[in-house]
Subunit: 449 residues, 2 copies
């Protein structure tokens, strides 16, 4: 009981998260199953956890306040997806962040954004500067997104597009629309760690499908569909986060056939679309937005400071998602939409993004070279994108390494936070725009030496 209480107090188990099954807990702590059952029952009687019939035990949302001094400093928290997110967002400004998921300041579209802000400041009417957004969000931006989707082979009318604050917010709305607590969601293993934090907030049962260089393992995918009857499969396309894998047409075709057979919805996050030189297959394009919901944003390619994501889906689903959106956050941000639309329609954007792609290719090559020299082995050499997924020399644990790196003001992304079951513990994800750096190489060489 005390051990579970401690984990809740230290927020290793967060409000709403599911406790391990009685059997798993008994194995983990070396007590009998009946002892664990008794502990769970007593904690439930105390209101610390709650039982959900057929779905196990969950940590209660606390009315009793969490005690900050027992939570400890951020560095003492478990190395989990929220630890990773906090390190990425909070680290000191002089910290190096090869573990973070975005471009450095000077790679992003600062110039075009300044120009757009001046243009918006000159606009005639006050309405766009002062009023709530329309129901689905800025019509010109949605029209532009529809044209861009069409370029990818995804046919979507502008009223099949709902603007959101971000792609994370888009996924949150979709999860609210599709999930009930205890429902199963399939993800890639490894996958973007915030998918795991978000799905945990929805109390989903998350099942990972092993990733291959051409997409998820379709045999494991078929088995998981049969066993778990999942509500949706969540993946990201273009350049997979964190592996850099590229979905092949054959895998896409097989996934969609399986999805149809089991009436599975697929949520495809396309946030890295603009980093591709050659477009990879898209599930949304193959499927035609029948059972695929496509989400995206420009946080990676334009700016993360102006939040604006979107969902493209069947019109009837967009209708329901719009209701959820106004109920839970009222309205979008017309200023963000206006600035983003101005940046994207400015001739400078194409040059900006072509420059980013060229620089990314060079940075990928240099990062791979540096890693190999240290004895850290890339899983593949990705065709596009921001990330290298790479294995440490035998016997090294990435979470321990990431914790040690904080002392050198280096934020690393250890493999376990990308995994549903703590696999990939000897892998790290490297952001190539922040890894071609002597301080980073020196730390890694020492750690691996």
């Amino acid at each position: 009981m005390q051990s579970i209480r401690d984990r809740i107090d230290r927020r290793v188990l967060t409000p709403g998260s599911r406790l391990p099954s009685v059997r798993a807990m008994a194995e983990a702590i070396g007590f009998s199953k009946s002892t664990v059952v008794e502990a769970y029952d007593r904690l439930a009687a105390d209101g610390v956890i709650r039982s959900r019939p057929g779905a196990g035990f969950y940590v209660s949302a606390p009315l009793a306040p969490l005690s900050l001094d027992r939570i400890g400093a951020p560095a003492e928290r478990e190395v989990d997806p929220l630890w990773m997110l906090r390190q990425s967002l909070m680290g000191p400004s002089e910290a190096l962040k090869p573990g973070c998921g975005w471009l450095p300041d000077d790679w992003l579209a600062g110039g075009p954004i300044r120009k757009a802000l001046r243009a918006v400041a000159r606009s005639d009417a006050d309405g766009p500067l002062t009023q709530y957004a329309s129901l689905l969000g800025s019509p010109p931006l949605r029209a532009l997104l529809a044209r861009r989707l069409d370029d990818q082979g995804v046919g979507a009318a502008p009223d099949q597009i709902l603007l959101t604050e971000s792609s994370t917010h888009a996924l949150d709305l979709v999860s609210r629309f599709l999930l009930e607590p205890g429902d199963t969601v399939l993800v890639d293993d490894p996958c973007y760690f915030n998918f795991l934090a978000l799905l945990r907030a929805h109390r989903a049962n998350v099942v990972g499908i092993p990733m291959t260089p051409t997409g998820p393992d379709t045999t494991a995918f078929a088995a998981a569909l049969a066993e778990h009857r999942p509500r949706f499969y969540l993946t990201n396309s273009a350049s997979h986060n964190p592996t850099g894998a590229t979905l092949s047409a054959a895998t896409a075709h097989r996934l969609l056939k399986l999805a149809e057979l089991h009436d599975l919805v697929i949520v495809e996050d396309d946030v890295f679309a603009d980093f591709e030189d050659t477009p990879a297959p898209r599930l949304a394009a193959f499927d035609g937005l029948d059972r695929v919901i496509r989400i995206g944003s420009f946080s990676k390619s334009v700016t993360a400071a102006i939040r604006c994501g979107h969902i493209a889906a069947r019109p009837d689903w967009i209708e329901a998602l719009a209701d959820l959106r106004i109920a839970t956050s009222m309205s979008g941000n017309p200023l963000s939409a206006e600035v983003l639309h101005t940046v994207l329609t400015d001739g400078g954007y194409r040059r900006h993004i072509e420059g980013v792609r060229t620089r990314l290719a060079r940075a990928r090559a240099r990062t791979i070279e540096r890693l190999r020299k240290i004895g850290i082995t890339p899983w593949i050499e990705p065709a596009a994108g921001l990330f290298i997924w790479a294995r440490l020399p035998d016997g090294l644990d990435a979470a321990k390494l990431a914790r040690a790196a904080l002392a050198d003001d280096i934020v690393l992304a250890p493999g376990n936070v990308f995994s549903t079951n703590g696999m990939w513990s000897d892998y790290l994800r490297f952001n190539v725009t922040m890894s071609d750096d002597d301080r980073v190489s020196a730390f890694l060489a020492r750690a691996c030496g």
Copy 2:
């Protein structure tokens, strides 16, 4: 069964909403309870609804798509909170909206916002224009909010403040933190209709406390605490939406004593703070952010196009809310925070808001005069704010009137959408900035004549 299916198809019953109890449904449709039980069981077997032990039946989140042609045009939807929100956000641009909850374009801070956009465009560093927000959001804006809270008698350190997209988003995070499906929340009756839509999205059991001109009825409040053991009480301060009531110090004191006795959390939405001439008592100030969570935004007084709300609460709760925020929407919007901070620290803001208050007082007086002439009676004459809550002549139904008004391109806010149990059906909420208008008066005079 067909009747319930129809209600789900037409989205009168939305995904996740609770079905009426067997007894209430039996009475409503005139069948026996056993027939209703059988219908519910069959719908559950079909997966259309789901049973939650001890908490009744809920509409399943649909995998089967909703059919748009059966939903019908927006005007044919039930007159409920989401109807109201859609009408407010969607109506044609030439529509008059005495039912909406915001100031007209030219009352808001268009000028100061243009100036702020130009200032931000000139800033030295690219980071604020391109990077994710820090964990809690812009430090200068949080410091400014802490000073403003201090002016209201609410002591809050900047790290007790979390920036959000809006006050609705703030309430959504708080609800995620505190609520489990089936938990009870107390609200004022009437209350801001979006509270009801949001709490329904959280599957809360919402109990209304009758409103009086000095705050909620404390006898009913005490009885509801004893009967329902609610998770929190949600109210809005300064100038109550929709009634314009002002909380008295005596009522505030009694509410907090009761809250302490029952270990109740209070969520106080202070979004109309800047419209007051003389500050009314604040629960957050009396309590000192011990059990009160204060949320707010500048959507009403500065702009709704630049989304930025905030939560002030105990440090340990802010810590947990920040985790929820990054898991479900990753990061705030630094551009919004920067523009808002610039507007609020510009000398022009004080003049702007003083001008708004003067115009509001005049518009309130003129609206009351117009309404009385037509035979529509204000519940009270509010001391501040945007709204007049007023009763139609005997025998008139506000929801019917609101539906008819759409044909004249007039969006009205009927009383039933503000109520937990459809009470106040002969009341309308008038936004005084859009009600002093001959077309509105002519429609109302015809309807009431």
